[in-house]
Amino acid sequence: MSESSDKDVLTSRTSPGAIATVGDERPSSPTVRPAQRRRPDWRKRLEILLLSGPAIFMFLAFVIFPVVMAAYYGFFRWKGYGAPTDFVGLDNYLIIFKDSAFHEALMHNGFILVMSLVLQGPAAVALALLLNQNMRGRSLVRVLIFVPYVISEVIVGTGWSLMLQTNGAVNGMLVKMGLPGWTVDWLSDPKVAIWSLMVIITWKYVGFAVILFLAGLQSIPTELFEASAIDGATYWKTQRYITLPLLGPTIRIWAFLSIIGSLQLFDLVYIVWGQYVASTAGTSTMATYMVTNGRMAGNYGFGNAVAVVLFFISLAIALVYQRFVLRRDTEGALTEGKK
């Protein structure tokens, strides 16, 4: 979504400039009359307005407006009935920053963010390299790896929670395999639960990374591999000095999507651990904290304040990432446009 809108911005920025240079270069041409130039301009604006208007309206009404309203409600102690009246200023925010449950949730988000990158990144690159080879059953393996990503979160969560229950399939299998000592409370032991969550997340989302990386690999010119082969580079050297650097932009975009996903993680945790047990099991996230203390408690003012905090944390991380990591990718794109 964000990618495509960036592209729109780029094209709309470059195209008027291109028209202007074309006009400047041919001042002597008698066929270009000012009146003709203005009319298409006016019609173009109408067209832009007409075509983008509904989208802009929807964006303002269903994204920007709710964000503004959440910020407004966050200043009130409000039960969700009628208009908010009990203005409490920044009290809600003070409570959030002092609440140890929120600190824990934030820590869990940080852990999930880092571990998602660490677990999924190398695994996905390895799988993508493997699946880029010519081998039997390649399409089948590709489909199998991508299937978990397509299955809805609710089904994934329900399935895994049934398997990982104390009396579930995983422990049952361990006992049948003669390893009763290995059985663990996968979901309710606080030492284990977050790792169970990481397994589920990795299983679910690694396919998405693999597909992205495979697409990135297709865009690397084969001439480079041929040249390196002629120069006598080994397979590993080729991957290290050609594939990985040229896959960089794709990896950076994937990492960005993964980070945003980790910060806003809600559905899997909510399905597997239910409405209340997540914080006990040590898998609560900022989003589950928001739902438990906002919606479930009926404290809608407080919940909105949590939403605002979540929004700013995500925004800050996204901006920092764009500024320091993604900048070289976008810069490259811009110079290309100027040529």
């Binding site: 019609r43 109408l46 067209e47 007409l50 102690r77 039960k79 969700g80 009935y81 009628g82 809600n92 409570i95 609440d99 929670s161 049934l162 990982l164 229950q165 104390t166 009396n167 409370d185 979901l187 309710s188 606080p190 651990w273 239910g274 409405q275 209340y276 047990v277 914080s279 006990t280 099991a281 438990t292 203390n293 919606r295 479930m296 408690a297 009926g298 404290n299 003012g301 407080f302």
Partner: protein, 428 residues
């Protein structure tokens, strides 16, 4: 040419948008019309759904010109949808309510009708004060109770016999003995749906009911503060009980009502001895037995007495289901409430929902043994309080849910429960 096309398209879009708007308008108009009402209840399947359909049909036949359109809404979606509808000014005329702090919030926002003077005398007499009190806020009545759902311990008589337990426990000591007897017999003593949290919180509520006097509970409902030492004592009782490890393996990830692995499912399939629940439980268990028939050996005993507690050992706690009218609902709304409280409709309600009707006139129809013992205990109880999460409101109830789950998981302590209530009060 192109411009004309664009204009034509935009005109068409404008007309389309207008039409959409008009559709929306039609829907919202129904609230103010005197002859037609909307009705939200939570029985989306089976006998309960059929009961409301036939009752509404009878009411419409008896009151020509009045129409009621029914919307059955999944129970878990009800609160959220109702809140949105009330805020949007497009509230259903008749909607399900459960009294207590939640109803008080709606009353405070001025969105529900005061029906104190509209209840007819027969209904009032048949209900008695206890049921009506559940829907009273500051002495005015805002809802019509249809069912009473007191809580207590459901158990399997066969499993108790197998473990050699001869009489239902009446004190905590006897309960502890029963727990160890069941364990010795290789049976999970107590099923608990900890994933849903509220079944775990019920254990704390009942210890508090035994530890705290009626006055203390009522005061706490107003002050939202758990300063009285009895609240801490209740947590200590629960901790002591939990230390005997009475609950089924993996109770923290067990749900209450969904499927054979849920706590109700464990009872239904003779995999656990007992479960602390409300009076809806026989119906839930019946739907989870292998043949989907009521469990033949299901029996019930009241929550045991606690040594040295200030609460009466006979006191009961339970929910009251009922219906309220929105503040803008026509007078026909209260007519409907009175209509379905007549004896024959309350008897039909009890049969359809396998539960206890609020009207005492209709309670003769109750035949299931577990429900009969509840009814006896209920009618002998010196006082009845509503579920404490209902009593204290959503915010405190929610905090108690988390606090009790933490305690049972070994992550918190009795003082943590009291602290959780104080923390929650700061947020709302």
């Amino acid at each position: 040419m192109k411009l004309r096309k664009i204009l034509a398209i935009s005109a068409a879009m404008a007309v389309g948008a207008g039409a959409l708007g008009a559709c929306g308008g039609d829907d919202s108009g129904s609230g103010s019309d005197d002859s037609s009402m909307t009705f939200w209840h939570n029985s989306t399947t089976g006998e309960g759904k059929a009961y409301w359909e036939s009752t509404v049909a009878d009411f419409e036949a008896a009151n020509p010109g009045v129409t009621i359109s029914i919307q059955a809404i999944q129970n878990e979606d009800m609160d959220g949808k109702l809140q949105t509808a009330l805020n949007s000014g497009d509230a259903p005329d008749i909607f399900m309510a459960r009294g207590g702090g939640k109803l008080a919030d709606v009353v405070e926002a001025g969105q529900v009708k005061d029906i104190s003077d509209a209840i007819d005398d027969t209904t009032r007499a048949a209900l008695g004060d206890a049921a009506l009190n559940a829907f009273s806020v500051d002495g005015k009545i805002y809802g019509m109770p249809t069912a009473i759902l007191p809580g207590g311990v459901y158990y399997s008589q066969d499993l108790f016999d197998q473990a050699g337990i001869t009489a239902a426990p009446t004190t905590m000591d006897e309960l502890d003995t029963a727990v160890s007897a069941l364990k010795t017999a290789g049976i999970s003593p107590v099923a608990l749906g900890g994933k849903d949290a509220w079944p775990a919180a019920h254990w704390y509520y009942f210890f508090a009911l035994r530890e705290c006097s009626q006055q203390t509970i009522e005061d706490a409902a107003k002050s939202k503060s758990f300063d009285d030492p009895c609240w801490l004592a209740a947590g200590e009782d629960l901790q002591a009980f939990a230390d005997t490890e009475p609950f089924n393996d993996g109770f923290l990830t067990t749900t209450a009502q969904q499927g054979a692995g849920s706590s109700a499912g464990l009872i239904a399939n003779h995999l656990a001895g007992m479960e602390l629940m409300g009076a809806w439980n026989p119906g839930v268990i019946a739907s989870l037995t292998p043949d989907e028939k009521p469990l033949a050996d299901l029996a019930w005993f009241p929550f045991p007495a606690v040594d040295g507690g200030d609460g009466d050992p006979g006191a009961m706690m339970g929910g009251v289901d009922g219906f309220s009218c929105s503040v803008d609902a026509p007078d026909a709304c209260t007519d409907f409430l009175n209509f379905f409280m007549q004896k024959e409709y309350q008897e039909g309600y009890a049969n359809a929902f396998h539960t206890l009707p609020a009207s005492k006139d209709a309670q003769g129809v109750v035949s299931e043994p577990a429900l009969q013992s509840i009814l006896t205990a209920y009618n002998e109880a010196p006082y009845v309080t509503v579920w404490m999460d209902t009593l204290f409101g959503q915010n405190v109830g929610n905090a108690l849910n988390s606090g009790v789950v933490d305690l049972l998981a070994g992550k918190g302590d009795p003082a943590g429960i009291v602290q959780a209530v104080a923390d929650a009060a700061a947020k709302g």
